[in-house]
Amino acid sequence: MTQPVSFTLHVLESRDGASPDLSLCDESAVHNSFQQLLQEQSMEEPELELEELELQELTLGGRENLAAGHTEAWEEPESRREHPDFSSATLLILADMPSRTIGRSQGAIISQFYNRTVKLRRRSSRPPLRQVSRSARPSLRQYDLELDSGHAEQKDTHSLLVKELQSLSSSQRSHMLQAMPVSLAEKRSLRQELGGHRSTLRKPDKTRRPLSCCGQLKHVFLTGFRSLWDGFLSLLHSLQPWHHSLKQISGRFGSSVLSYFLFLKTLLMFNIFLFLTLLIFVVATQAAYPPATKNSRLFTGLELLTGAGSFTQTLMYYGYYSNFTLNDPCTPVSSSCQPGRGHLPYNMPLAYVFTIGVSFFITCILLVYSMSRSFGESYRVGSTSGDFAIKVFCAWDYKVIQRRSVRLQNENIRTQLKELLGEQQSKSRPMSLCRKLGRMVVLSLAWAVSVGTVVGCIVAVYYFAEHMLKVHRDSRDEESSEAQQEALLLALPVVVSLMNLVMPYLYNLLAAWEKQESPALEVYVAIFRNLILKMIVLGLLCYHWLSRKMGYSTEDNCWETSVGQELYRFVVMDFVFTLLDTFLGELLWRLILEKRLMRKQRPEFDIARNVLELIYGQTLTWLGVLFCPLLPAVQILKLVLLFYIKKTSLMKNCQSPSKLWRASHMSTVFITLLCFPSFLGAAIFLSYTIWAVKPSIACGPFRMQETIYESGKTWIQELEKSSPNITWFTWIHQHLVENTFFLFFVSGVLLAVIYLQIQVVKGHRRIICLLKEQIAHEGEDKVFLIQKLQCIYGKQETCP
């Protein structure tokens, strides 16, 4: 909306006409805190003149509008309804209230930042002596009053702000400048003044204490280092992968679909980290010292699917890794043994278990950190429901740039608003008893069906796994061909993946049938059902693998490798079925919709289901890391391919979801799910394996040990024997790691901290409630005062 230039021309007359009582008008200007300053500013500061002109034009234009009450901008009935019979003078004062000027005028913003700077300075440092008089003043408004009472100081906000900014530290100052919502030209002039003032201020400093030679050297060194760091940062920025693709996706589908791809990227980062640590400390070192075993089988191609065959005796799996110190001359391979040589020994079993342990630990910290951060962002203390305002103010996704998508977004917002309104109306009408009962029956039936299917799936998977084990043994006994044996291994992963593919659709049907009230609840219910199914099936499979090893250990010489292979197959099958799902669920469905049903609609991209699939795949990877150190590499490959395939399919086949999606809220949920059932489950499984399960006797880095954990213990004992001067290390081990008291103590402290935090949050809530009440009272007071004001002005207007 633009203000016509002609506004300023007839402003004066209308203003005169509107407020006949000039003294009153002046009074209003005196009481309002900013107007006065602004006018002075415009006299004193040539830089500010432009903004002031604009502002004056605006405020005057506003006055004119308010006063005349007939111009088209203010003619609407709504504003009349709020203030039905306020006189023009009252409206004028209302328009000049500080709470309203802050949203439009530069001077008000500057003074707000001035106040903030004062606060910041006082918090960060004790004020220097020469500023004590000013720092005693709490706010600009008070200063303003002093001006009115005729104080000697004739400075405006602008220069005051400059002064205040100068007393801040450089980082705080630039932060403040950056965050100031004024135009860049204004910021530049502020900065220029700052620079100028500072150089004059600093000059005496220089003569007083010149920097020493060492200081100069340090300065030069730091500058050089910083330039290097800057260069590195900009390199990192330019390396940002998929920047263009992500922009394309968000431009068409908005933030909600983007959150899926960002999640995929996060997972990719986790896997790259895991892969790199394993590659450096385990895989590469083992590759440098290959063990004596020969790989006899030839590559047939089926290995890519099954992971068995010629892959078995490679770096892929646990069984290949050796159980001795790698660069120790006393290996069983070489005969010349001279212990006590100078170089560092590289103990493979230790490296294996420590690398996995440490990388899991770091992953855990990263996960908890990102989870807590996103919780902090999406959860605010004392936030109450306020759907309409948030919906209207925050609904628009500025990233969406395609015309068609913009229209779609328009449509979505409209339907959502209508739904919200309808919901509100239906809430006011209570449901009849009969309908309530019907609803209960439908809900309980739906849940019974979903729980029933989960139980059914579990039983089916369990018996199928046992059956396949038997079939596999039989085929081995009958000595059928190797390819056939390997193909048999694929049956279980195929069945489980098929189940994972089909069940979500069943749950979608259920959801369509039960018709939850709110779309958000619908999403959560769908996620919950899918999650339960996937996690229970995975738990069952873990149990199956660990128990199977007992029955298998006699003939299968390396159960770890076979579990690793099994997990490899699951990862690959998961990928294949995701592709199938993309093909069937998106491409074929679109073709059917377009060609057969002649509808313009396209299938929607189901974010929740797709994210759950990602989480499932990641769980498989984490489960398998111990048995198949190169599994993260497979996962990386899978994720990269998935990114491009999903993106292509999305662009070609899908339309953006019409459901209400609160992207950041959902990403909090996703990262929590990744942390809680997924990572925690995998960590528990691995810890159990390390602590309590006996490794196979004939292969792998831990072949001589009772459990994997034992190897660490024996290493500590050896260390104690060989070098007694690092007893502190063994002491730490004995007293902190093995001692349960320490653990209890730490968890007790943690619980206490959590309890305290909860209490603090409770206190905050209470204070927020009180403050809200207070604001409500203030609002009432304001209304009361406005009415009083109106009384006075009304009287004066009727009898001039």
Binding site: M1, R100, P181, R202, V406, L417, K782
Partner: protein, 247 residues
């Protein structure tokens, strides 16, 4: 030239520059992406920027952005150096060949700004131009600095506070410093589409606006002022992620 001071500082008065230790500190780490913006002492920075800008940055666009100016922009906005250079390139593409020589003085009319694909379809495009333009006659034309200002507010790293401030000004259609019923109605119409068949019905609109005011008008004066608006926004973490324009 306002920055002559910088050169003096670099060359002759090196010891007068603030002690380097004060430049980096615990502050710098969380903002490592904007390290350069945190460090604002002009003295030390002049040299650094000069070195690292080298040929790569300069070769990118047709006409060059002065180095010290680039540094200043970087310090005053939330944009990184790459983003500023990209903005420079995109902005110079809006100008004709002759005008590109004096890119910093030229204003691009609103109609041209709105040909940018990032703004073309946005229902708030006119308001965005109006809010960020510093043009005196209110025609929404933009100078390069206005353009940078806009990108800075819509950038990834701008704080939620500054974003909500500008969102408020964008939604404040009549520029009177507060969102009243009229503004809200216009806002909702922008969101649902301007056409007659796409609008909400009058009773729906009334009900909607009534609800919005009930939820967010804390002091019950019938309008939503900036702090009330920011209060609503602070409850929605999605706002900062959706109030973004990527160039």
């Amino acid at each position: 030239m306002p920055h002559s001071g910088i050169w003096v500082c670099v060359g002759a008065q090196l010891p007068a520059c603030p002690a380097p230790g004060s430049l980096s500190g615990p502050w710098a780490l969380p903002w490592s992406g904007f390290l350069e913006t945190v460090v604002d002492a002009p003295g030390g920075r002049g040299v650094t920027r000069l070195r690292q800008l080298g040929p790569a940055a300069m070769g990118g666009s047709a006409s060059q952005l002065p180095r010290d100016l680039l540094g200043e922009y970087q310090e005053l906005t939330f944009l990184t150096k790459q983003e500023i250079l990209l903005a420079h390139k995109r902005f110079s593409e809006l100008l004709s060949k002759e005008e590109r020589e004096s890119i910093l003085q030229k204003r691009v009319p609103k109609s041209k700004i709105l040909t940018l694909p990032e703004l073309r379809a946005n229902p708030f495009r006119d308001r965005i131009c109006r809010v960020f333009s510093t043009s005196e006659d209110g025609d929404g034309s933009m100078s390069f600095e206005d353009f940078l200002d806009m990108l800075s507010v819509f950038s990834d790293s701008a704080t939620s506070e500054i974003k909500s401030h500008y969102a408020f000004r964008i939604f404040d259609f009549d520029d009177d410093g507060t969102l009243d019923r009229k503004d809200l109605e216009k806002l909702v119409n922008c969101l649902t589409g301007e056409g007659d068949e796409t609008r909400l019905s009058e009773s729906e609109m009334d009900q909607l606006i009534q609800n919005i005011l009930e939820e967010s008008d804390i002091d019950k004066d019938g309008t939503i002022n900036l702090s009330e608006f920011q209060h609503v926004i602070s409850r929605s973490p999605d706002f900062a992620s959706s109030f973004k324009i990527v160039l």
